[in-house]
């Protein structure tokens, strides 16, 4: 019988989470099309956003490489460090898009997206809460696998704050500005 190690289950968890997130977010489109539609201005700005996010990820990975060569060890597992790079670049991409008014596609249903955001936040908050309660989030100078959930939670909070701040800024400037 195939025995799944603890880290193996973490890897499966991350993969399942990513696949679920893509399916759910795409299903949230108004016309239920898998592809989110953007207009010409949105496509140009999103291209710039992807460019910036790509540079951020390259810089992050070079920094991690330097740390590795310098034999400087951080109290987190290597997969968490790489996941951090993915999340940081994803945050940069999303924040840039939100601030430039190109985050929502033409067929995006904001209400459905918000519900998915909240559900994802809750799903990630539960293991973090129990891990923190049991004291296994950070123990003996090591981090538990729930750190990944905490990182996703932080990303969702950053996106939520940015969306609220952008909405407030738009309201102050006047919707038909």
């Amino acid at each position: 019988m195939l025995a799944i190690t603890r880290m193996g289950s973490v890897a499966i968890g991350i993969l399942v989470g990513l696949v679920l997130a893509v399916i759910l977010l795409k299903a949230a489109n108004q016309n239920h099309k898998m592809k989110t539609e953007y207009d010409e201005r949105q496509k140009i700005i999103r291209g710039k956003a992807y460019q910036i996010a790509w540079y951020v990820m390259v810089i992050y990975e070079v920094l991690m490489m330097v740390l590795h060569i310098g034999e400087i060890s951080l109290p987190v597992s290597e997969y968490v460090l790489h996941f951090g790079g993915v999340l940081v670049s994803a945050i940069v991409l999303a924040v840039y898009c939100i601030w430039k008014d190109v985050y929502w596609g033409l067929n995006s249903n904001r209400r459905r997206y918000s519900i998915i955001f909240l559900a994802t936040g809750l799903l990630n908050a539960i293991p973090v809460y129990f891990s923190a309660k049991e004291g296994t989030l950070f123990a003996n100078g090591e981090t538990g696998p729930q750190l990944v959930n905490l990182m996703v939670l932080i990303m969702l909070v950053v996106l939520g704050i940015t969306l609220i701040a952008k909405d407030a800024a738009d309201r102050n400037a006047g919707r038909e500005g």
């Binding site: 207009d39 010409e40 201005r41 949105q42 008014d101 190109v102 033409l106 038909e176 500005g177």
Partner: protein, 64 residues
């Protein structure tokens, strides 16, 4: 440079930015950016806007 001709043509048709955006198949923010002069639309979008407002390209996009 602000495109006041577009803004006034839209207002004359009693259309909001949202309405014009829907007709042209773009986001409201894109119409806002064109009116503010922050974005230069492609010729295809210019034509779509002209058709929606019953105007010619010269009337809306030619700078004098």
């Amino acid at each position: 440079m602000k495109n006041l001709k577009l803004k006034s043509a839209r207002a004359a048709k009693d259309l909001s930015q949202e309405d014009l955006a829907k007709i042209c198949g773009v986001s409201r923010q894109t119409i806002s950016a064109i009116e503010k002069g922050d974005y230069n639309p492609t010729i295809n979008l210019c034509i779509a806007i002209c058709k929606a407002l019953d105007k010619t390209l010269d009337e809306l996009f030619w700078e004098e």
